[in-house]
Symmetry: C2
Subunit: 233 residues, 2 copies
């Protein structure tokens, strides 16, 4: 089951051209077969102890969306107090969600009771349950990109408001609130990089050897050299 | 930037043939350019507020691995007390890690101080920081699969032992301890499905409409029908 060069290139293209989309949504409906492939990809994520602890709540209802959008506005206003000028004004000007304009919203949730209480691999590090849900979200995001569907993860929200409007049982956690739709454009760079909010780190800056902050010794020198090449910088 | 059919198929192949690998590791070294592509893919994950809060600590040192393996054995023994016979014996027989046999271990960490304290989108839901790291892990996993490299996520471990042996500062959290290497085989099904530990849920079982447990109304009937087709069941 080796990959051809073009199959490999397809995966890397999805990874490197995926964007967190807040603008450019069109009204074009997502056909059922496309949405099914995207959801199927999400469901085939790894999960701790094969617990598959995710649900995908598909939301079109405009009343629900308006309530979520209101929560966004309240949380944006409140969190703006955490940052000082001139970054505060920059923050307030950024377009950070597409709740109403996107074709579809999806809330991805974590149910810790699924196949529980004993789940293999979750006893020592309970957070691995919710980590599994995040892996499913990334699968969904990449599949959507390959299908030309944009995804925006909105996290300037109150989880309590989400739980209330989606009628979540108290033991179920919302993990992500996503906006999906076809888009006119996938920008070359992330919005927050393009607008100068933060730079992309170099790959070398996030690689450590043997221990935290560990420098490459002789057995790592070839990798260190490769990571310094322009395609990875 | 549309995807060709083969590029799309490449992404879906990585998603659907990826496995959590504990066996079949070979000794073949991973070349630097392959490892660089895998790490580069991880680094191009989405992150809340573009905070890129991850580090990848590459571990070959056998002393470190032995200490981590010892922690695995202790935690496996302890967590076995959480499950009753006959599942306890089944659990104890399962091969659940490849720490020593794999070519390389990678500890992926979360640094909440990166570009902080104010990170866009993290004020209301602080967990989104660590969720970003999980997205990076899934990118790494898929890229590895396309490169024919197996990845096993070992979570039957003490995070305190990991922190101690990798010299992590107190504010940095280990998120995943991964074992990477070329493998002889990627089994068709996950180990825990093949061995009868748990079944795979049907896709329909994890899709809700408009609210938790919400049934498909008329505007969702086409999707509901599609999700019931054999390729998604």
């Amino acid at each position: 089951m080796e990959f051809t060069d073009e199959e490999k290139a397809g995966l890397y293209k999805a990874i490197h051209t995926r964007r967190d989309v807040r603008s450019y949504f069109t009204n074009k409906p997502i056909p059922s077969d496309v949405l099914a492939r995207i959801l199927h990809a999400a469901h085939h994520a790894p999960s701790v102890g094969f617990s598959q602890p995710w649900n995908f709540i598909l939301v079109k209802n405009s009343g629900t969306r308006k309530a979520i959008k209101k929560s966004f506005e309240e949380e944006k206003e409140q969190t703006a107090n955490m940052v000082e000028e001139p970054r505060r004004s920059h923050y307030m000007q950024l377009k950070l969600e597409g709740i109403m304009e996107s074709y579809l919203n999806i809330c991805v949730t974590y149910d810790p009771t699924r196949f529980g209480p004993f789940v293999i691999g979750r006893g020592s590090i309970p957070q691995t349950g919710v980590y599994s849900v995040c892996c499913a979200i990334q699968n969904l995001w990449l599949a959507a990109r390959a299908e030309d569907v944009g995804v925006g993860w909105v996290s300037i929200l109150s989880n309590n408001i989400i739980k209330k409007h989606l009628n979540l049982p108290s033991h179920v956690e919302p993990v992500a609130y996503l906006c999906l739709g076809y888009v006119d454009d996938f920008p070359t760079k992330p919005d927050l990089e393009a607008t100068g909010w933060l730079p992309r780190l170099q790959l070398k800056d996030v690689i450590d050897y043997e221990v935290w902050n560990g420098e490459p010794n002789v057995q790592w020198s070839e990798l260190d050299k490769t990571l310094g090449e322009s395609e990875y910088a």
